[in-house]
């Protein structure tokens, strides 16, 4: 099983309700999951798996924790 967490600021910015979002699956890439779930646009998301940022072609493994951060500009 893969856990999903959406950062509160992402939820506020893009109006996402975590409880109604589809879950990722093992073997699925982050990019495919984001498209399938409709959670947002790639350009607005920093995907973090197991506490560190991961590339978009990362494939989930059982036990992963995916966190959705806003890719807010930081100057």
């Amino acid at each position: 099983m893969i856990k999903l967490k959406i950062r509160p600021e992402y939820a506020v910015l893009y109006g996402v309700d975590e409880s109604s979002v589809l879950m990722p699956s093992a073997g699925e890439t982050i990019r495919d999951y984001v498209v399938r779930s409709g959670i947002g646009k790639e350009e607005n998301i920093l995907p973090v798996v197991n506490n560190r940022a991961k590339p978009w072609d990362y494939s989930f493994s059982e036990g992963d924790v995916l966190e959705i951060y806003p890719m807010a500009a930081s100057g």
Partner: protein, 609 residues
Amino acid sequence: MKGYWGRILSIDLSDSAITAITPDERLYRDYIGGSGIGARLLYDMTGPETDPLGPDNPIIWMTGPFTGTKVPTSGRHQITSRSPLTGIFGESDAGGRFGTALKRSGWDGVIVKGMSDKPVIIVIRDDKVTIEPAGGVWGKDTFYTDKHMKERFGPSCETSCIGVAGEKLVPISCIGHDGENARMAGRCGFGAVMGSKKLKAVAVIGNRETEIADPERLMAQQKKMVPIIVEKTKGMHLLGTAGGTAAAEKMGDIPVQNWRRGNWPDAEKITGQVMADTILTKNYYCASCPIGCGRDVEIKNGKWAGVKGAGPEYETLGLMGGSCLVNDLEAITYAADLCNRHGVDTIEAGSAVAMAMECFEKGFLSRDELDGINAEWGSAEALVALTEKICSAEGVGKLLGLGVAGMARKIPGAESFAVHVKGLTFPAHDPRCFNTLALGYATSNRGACHLSSSAYFFEKTAVMPEFGYEKPRQRYTEGGEGLLNFHAQNLMGLMDSLKMCKFTIYGGVNVTEICEWYEAVTGIKTSVKEMAETGERIFNLKRLYNIRLGLRRKDDRLPERILSTPRRDEGTGDYTPDLEPMLDEYYRVRGWDDDGVPKPETIERLGLS
């Protein structure tokens, strides 16, 4: 030629001569304004012999054709001079309202040279320009000075001024605008240039509008792009630049413990979200800006009570927070407020404190040498106490106020962890996180600068379709860093010359829109190719300035800590940049020789002969 006044004010403080320069139209065509014209003037007015703190070094405030118009985010100006911090080409850009006021005073820019015997201010009221005694503002902070000028000259008066640090010639001092809202021209030590001239402030009261070539076209563009910019930058509006702090930690972007580590979970305690939930009072907007990323904060209670004004930006949080391991948002805000009041660059100050903490840890600086301050990693008290020392230029503050490069020259053995390029310390973005940053820092003309290339924008979310970058590049892609930096540096130089905020790139603005706005404002027909070449000309001119000073490939370097210290964490792996192949590609793309000198044919093609 619309969008300009066609005249630049020149003031010599040695003999109080005030003159108007009316440059040839070619200067505006070839160098646009802001950064470009500032660089051209500096190149022509100085030479290798010019002392950055001497009377012959001019300090130049320049607006661009967009300044004072309704082009989104155009309320900006550029300050150019030879840097007393680095000794090389220097420039610093600021938002706020001063640039707009200067443009509305009927001048495209102001050149100040010479040196006054006594502290003075310059007052520009449209055509009436006076040099007046500084009086009671000398010795006062930037907030007081700005407020005093508004009381004296009216609420529309905008001020570019120094604090006490600039008066005392602190090498990392800077220039403030907008009073407590603190829009600082932070980098390159220009507070000391003003201080050396005994120039406390330039106060501007302007009420004129420059003529726009095609106001309807500009309005149509504005109506089209502003909603897009607002939508795409709503994260910055909501959380400011600090909104990226948590994400930066997850990526390995934020500096941690003087660039030794790649992760720091305490970043969660100093984010824009925490700021919004605790001390944020409202957003602050620079002139003509629809984004409003500025933070106004207030600390009413507790140890760091009394702060009321600008909240810390991401860069400040990165250097005073992550790099010092200080997780107390209010203490960082307090230290940043000290810097804003005294006119000190928070990037350099935070870096200097981090370096002092490492010196303390390694035994290079004793507690006695640190004036009794217990400079342990993570100590909020030490951060504030050392910042106070820097700001007042007292005790060990004189050492830290030299910046990390200057500290390394004074502390044997410290160069191995002094993180700077060409004397300018790193901003809060790690080149082990974004491949293109390594090359961007190494080749930036003013030293380590994330904004002169901003190539990492295009490894996050931004695109440059006009130059073949339809999608953001993966940040660890190898190869092509030279070409991306070439395009990005040219584009950033162009934007710094037109005067617009680079955050519009996150807002979906590309070169095509910039060309549209340029044509609407000036009436000069242009193209993406021509604009890109103008950016290239401007970048090369700055390079030639430094070449004239003797800089070469040996100076396009990265510090030992970055090149040889893998951080061994999951965010960045063991990646360290392999700079030499990047430089080879970059020099080839730029038309420079193997030593980094622009080839004669490049100089000829760009009209720089």
